[in-house]
Symmetry: C2
Subunit: 223 residues, 2 copies
């Protein structure tokens, strides 16, 4: 399969070209953006629902919600009060690419947006290879997934700037070791910011909101 | 990207040719085999550890354990007492393919094997497209992942013969609705066999072992 590498390179370089355009447009508008990646079921949408309810009146949030099938997540975010939500149903594709995001952005009115969230397909492998023009990737993992995940899926943790450890209310219901997951994550990426949350009890959410608002403010100050 | 479809078709048809060879070899030896697929962290390896401890003295089990990085799962299975374990570290690839399995099988002594388990990379999307020569796919999902997963990742549930709902000891710690996940799974695939398990409390494991032994016996009787 000699053509495989060149073909993949061609796809990725076209992706990077479009991602650079997106990044330029978001920078011009001073919109802070992150690409939210995780396993299926880590709680990305729940974390966004909480975030929209808590800070959505102070911060204008737009979300692009990617899924293989269904618009369930987009519907949940609309119900949570997010006014700018655009679903992308990939129809089988295992990741979002910059072209999908670019098309979705054309249909979003970003005039007053402060924060753009790109909720990727639940998959710890493929989305790590695709730059979507975001400021950073944030990987969400839950305490029920096993504390060796950063070692088993290193590319995703290496390319993320933040790891949210979600469902900390379930600590103690399995062998998951919180200190071990942090050590494993930092072994793969020593500069990761780590935030612990529970959407059920609310633990850690204030820290998450504060961190997010700091990033948004920081982006606004950039010339 | 006009060459995309033909290139993918070429890869898949080469995969299917090798998968057919594997299937022929396993059928000749009357080895029952399944391809175990799931999200990362659903508990595939825990379920295999339990299975090896419980029925490994009556049934000769071989496991091919796929992972993007690390041989952690293979090590765990060896410690559980499985004598035939072959790790595949895909080094970034998001799924196993028939060629990887074919190479791993050459290094396994299958003479007296009754059951071959192929533990796939944790990913609910890509592994659904690759036939590995197995008798059936078994999809494992855990109660912490959300009850709409069969609708969001329909290909995987459509191509599986069995859905194991694992971690049922954690029912009640989230909004996960067991009846809803079953209804959603059967909507996608009306012929799915559904088995509920907890590796922590042991609930449902006897049913899982009995089902497995029935498949193994059935395969032995085939002419």
């Amino acid at each position: 399969m000699a053509e495989k590498v060149p073909f993949e390179q061609k796809v990725l370089s076209e992706n990077d070209r479009i991602a650079a355009e997106i990044r330029g447009a978001l920078n011009q508008r001073k919109i802070f953006s992150f690409n939210m990646v995780s396993s299926p079921g880590s709680g990305k949408t729940s974390l966004l629902e909480k975030t929209i309810s808590a800070i959505g009146s102070q911060v204008n949030i737009a979300v692009i919600a990617g899924d293989v099938q269904t618009e369930n997540d987009a519907q949940r975010l609309l119900r949570a009060g997010c006014k700018l939500v655009r679903p992308i149903v990939t129809g089988g594709a295992c990741h979002l690419d910059a072209n999908m995001v670019s098309r979705a952005l054309k249909e979003l009115e970003l005039e007053n947006t402060d924060l753009l969230v790109i909720e990727n397909v639940g998959n710890l492998v493929c989305p790590s290879s695709y730059d979507l023009g975001e400021d950073m990737k944030i990987v969400v993992m839950s305490t029920t997934e096993g504390d060796d995940k950063p070692l088993k899926y290193p590319a995703m943790f290496r390319r993320s700037s933040v790891m949210v450890v979600n469902k900390i209310d379930l600590l103690g219901t399995s062998d998951f070791d919180l200190e071990m997951v942090k050590a494993n994550a930092l072994k793969v990426n020593g500069t990761l910011t780590i935030i612990e949350t529970s959407c059920r009890t609310g633990a850690g959410l204030d820290q998450w909101y504060a961190w997010l608002q700091e990033q948004i403010a920081h982006k606004k100050q950039k010339s």
